[in-house]
């Protein structure tokens, strides 16, 4: 390493003044980045990893300030620099890529113009006429096909991955020395993630730039970075070479984080921390026993007539969902030309798929965004009407009932769902208890305030939610607690089939590990079937017996989880598997 690092953060403490006093978001953090080095800052939400990078750029919001420590960037004291100097530094010397590429781009301006803006602000010496060519060149470098056309594109005309490439082009337009990428691939598909990360690494290597990658994904960090800094609760707990951190983690938190990361060759139970594992499981255990005994008196889903088991619980045949194609071309075509349109008038989101789910089975439905997996789950859920096809649940053709009429049928309580975003799926004005009680009040047979409360507490125990949290509003709960509320609500009516729509996508890995284990336990105890909709093959494998891989509305591969993951037949499945970031040295 060079004698003087490019960025040197010493003893950094960042404070936020809030209503409840001063919160130290980052405490005594030391980070240095050498020239040409790629550094990852890994941590879960609230660990202070983003705040650290914002402090480096001095873009903390008004409530936050650097309380202690120093930040030196190639000899400039960032803490003491004037706002003018900082403005010059940002963009030209240090630039940043944010999580949501669409939010980072101005939606009503052409991407080319936006790149030119950056060039105009920061590169005074270049010729004015030159900017257009330079912007196209920048687009070319981030491997956007047909850059001359894309120059005139608006952000909404580009896919998420494309937008992120444009953001990278923006960030790199002025040849900065340091690139800070804050969760650059969260929300992108796994194949897109690979392409974007490969691009970032290639470009920064070629330009001998330094990069700070901020991520919650230890696998991603280890796969793409030279060094990894692990943060927990505002402190740096471990700094190590990427190759070492998986092979020989030092700090207990790093070990816990690593264990929780789903990867090849581990089972669901392995994700839980060693020491806490049995304790977590033992806590709710007696209560779950108690609960399932209770329900077995009235209706235990596990006790079923034998003949019932032979038929699949859910059978889907030739399911199709079509959407009319909208847009100016179709409308104008109808108005002005009499010849039939070249394209079909409809878009098939789901194109004749068939599969079935057995009693007590969990099936994973995997695919990237736009493959039709969510549309399929919505149709099974009867929140959306299908165009054609059969949906048979427990021997009955539920596909024949329109979604609006389905809400009042007894079958409604048999199919429930756990939503992707725990925050969005809870009514902000309902307490946790009220949210859990809602399905019981509508469809259940428990009446009376005390009985409802007792049932809510029973469910809360089953999902491991402390009873004193039941009277809180969603914004007073953490992500994992909200996820538990969502699960409690879904199982409140003893459903036979639960659709899990990426239930852990919005959660930290350690919370994800706990929630996945909880789902597994509940399934075993209550005898439910799961349809697990996800984009992450690694997570699906842990929970599911069978996996269905979808692409553009069709099923491309179907088989047992082990078979699909270890010996994929379809090229697309192979592509999905290779795109998952593999840490250099897996444990075991």
């Amino acid at each position: 390493m060079t004698a003087q690092p490019l960025l040197d953060v010493q003893d950094l403490t960042v404070e936020f003044s809030t209503r409840r006093g001063i919160v130290k978001a980052v405490q005594h953090v030391n980070i240095s980045v050498a020239k040409g080095e790629t550094l990852a800052i890994v941590g879960e939400s609230g660990s202070g990893k983003s705040v650290t990078s914002y402090a480096v750029m001095r873009i903390l919001d008004r409530a936050g300030k650097i309380a202690e420590g120093s930040v030196m960037f190639s000899g400039i004291d960032v803490k003491a620099a004037t706002e003018d100097q900082m403005r010059d530094l940002r963009g030209r010397e240090v630039s940043m890529i944010f999580q949501n590429p669409r939010a980072a781009l101005n939606p009503i301006r052409k991407v080319g113009d936006q790149i030119e803006d950056v060039l105009r602000t920061h590169v005074q010496q270049a010729q004015v006429a030159d900017h257009g060519e330079k912007a196209i060149e920048a687009l070319e470098q981030v491997k956007i096909a047909r850059p001359r056309e894309r120059y005139h594109a608006y952000p909404f005309e580009l896919s998420g991955g494309m937008c992120q490439r444009v953001v990278i082009a923006l960030a790199l337009a002025c040849n900065p020395q340091l690139l800070i990428a804050d969760e650059p691939t969260t929300g992108l598909d796994v194949t897109t993630q690979k392409a974007v990360m490969d691009l970032i690494v290639e470009l920064t290597k070629r330009r001998a730039m330094s990069t700070i990658l901020i991520t919650h994904d230890l696998g991603l960090a280890a796969a793409y970075c030279d060094r990894v800094v692990v943060m927990e609760k505002g402190r740096v707990v471990e700094t190590a070479k990427a190759a070492d951190i998986f092979g020989n983690p030092q700090h207990p938190y790093t070990k816990k984080l690593m264990r929780a990361t789903p990867r090849l060759g581990v089972s669901l139970r392995d994700l839980l921390p060693e020491e806490e594992g049995p304790a977590v499981m033992a806590g709710p255990d007696p209560a779950i026993h108690h609960a399932s005994q209770d329900s077995s008196q009235s209706r235990d889903p596990r006790v079923k007539p034998g003949g019932d088991e032979t038929k699949p619980l859910l059978r889907i045949e030739k399911l199709v969902k079509e959407y009319p194609r909208q847009g100016a071309t179709a409308v104008l075509g109808k108005l002005f030309s009499r010849k039939p349109p070249v394209e079909p008038d409809v878009f098939r989101a789901v194109d004749g798929i068939s599969f079935s789910i057995g009693h007590g089975e969990s099936v994973g439905l995997v695919g990237e965004s736009g493959c039709g997996k969510s549309t399929t789950s919505m149709m099974v859920m009867r929140l959306l009407d299908q165009t054609s096809g059969l949906i048979q649940f427990d021997g009955e053709d539920i596909g024949a009932t329109a979604p609006s009429a389905f809400a009042r049928l007894p079958q409604r309580s048999r199919i429930q769902m756990v939503f992707q975003d725990p925050t969005d799926s809870l009514n902000p004005r309902f307490t946790a208890a009220r949210a859990i009680a809602d399905p019981i009040m509508q469809l259940g047979d428990i009446r009376g305030r005390d009985a409802l409360r007792a049932r809510c507490e029973e469910l809360a125990t089953m999902v491991g939610l402390p009873h004193n949290l039941l009277d809180r509003f969603p914004h007073q709960l953490s992500g994992g607690q909200k996820a538990r509320v969502g699960i409690a609500r879904a199982i409140a009516l003893h459903p036979k089939l639960v659709i899990l729509d990426e239930p852990t996508a919005a959660l930290d890995v350690s919370v994800q590990a706990v929630v996945l284990n909880l789902l597994q336990d509940l399934k075993a105890r209550l005898g439910m079937s799961y349809l697990f909709v996800s984009h992450d093959l690694n997570v699906v494998r842990l929970l599911c017996d069978r996996v269905i891989v979808m692409r553009t509305g069709r099923i491309v591969e179907e088989g047992s989880s082990e078979q699909v993951l270890s010996d994929p037949k379809d090229d697309y499945t192979k592509e999905l598997l290779t795109a998952i970031p593999h840490p250099p040295l897996p444990v075991h």
Binding site: F16, L60, A407, D424, R489
Partner: protein, 299 residues
Amino acid sequence: MSSVAPAVEPVGPARTSGLTAILEQTRYVLSENKVTGFAFALLIVILIAATFGPYVVPYDPLASDTAAALKPPSAAHWFGTDQLGRDIFSRVVVATRLDTFIAIASVVLVFLMGGLAGIAAGYFGGWTDRIVGRIADTIMAFPLFVLAMGIVAALGNTVQNIILATAIVNFPLYARVARAEANVRRNAGFVQAARLSGNGEFRILLVHILPNIMPIMIVQMSLTMGYAILNAAGLSFIGLGVRPPTAEWGIMVAEGAGFMVSGEWWIALFPGLALMIAVFCFNLLGDGLRDIVDPQRRT
């Protein structure tokens, strides 16, 4: 993860919900925001005047005393007297009840009409949306005050009709705000979850969506309250509202306007000030109210 603010884990015992929490929140908002505190103090003064005014004023607001006509403000008559010798202070205080009643009644009425129609339009879309939208457009096609004049002139000069006219001219404001708010929540996760829980569409609308829209509707109500008072006073001013000799700010300003040129400024000034303070108070209140009713801020 992208937010700059530190994620504070909710720890410790759950906050007590209900009245205590609301009082605690109110205290916090008032202490943080002095302007809101001031508006609340004004509101309390207005409400006291409206409730107890008629029982405590020194003179009968309707009793004329020609001997004491057109007297400037003095110790006996704090705000002076008008051309019939009626005590202006008593009349201004007594008028508070009628004016705030008209304002509150019209705001509640327009919330029930416009707010609910707007929520239904935003949630159901389709024909409901088109019908509500066109009604709102039709109302907005007229100058609002002229429309209110027309309604009162056509239906008759009564307090009920002033309330109705004020409510109708505010309909588009409520319908549009409620429509936009309901529309963004139409496919929110919690609405889908409510459907899965077996809630009917109307129940989702009233139990799940409406409470989430209340904060913004309350701000809207507070802001239009000021406008409703002005509207009622305006109608009375041009002779289309409450009839004399009833004490009402608009009439009093109208009666006093003629005397301004001859130097009797107090007849119009004091009811005008009362009007201004009331409008000012309700407008300031809007933002403060939002902070109190929004549970997101109640941390």
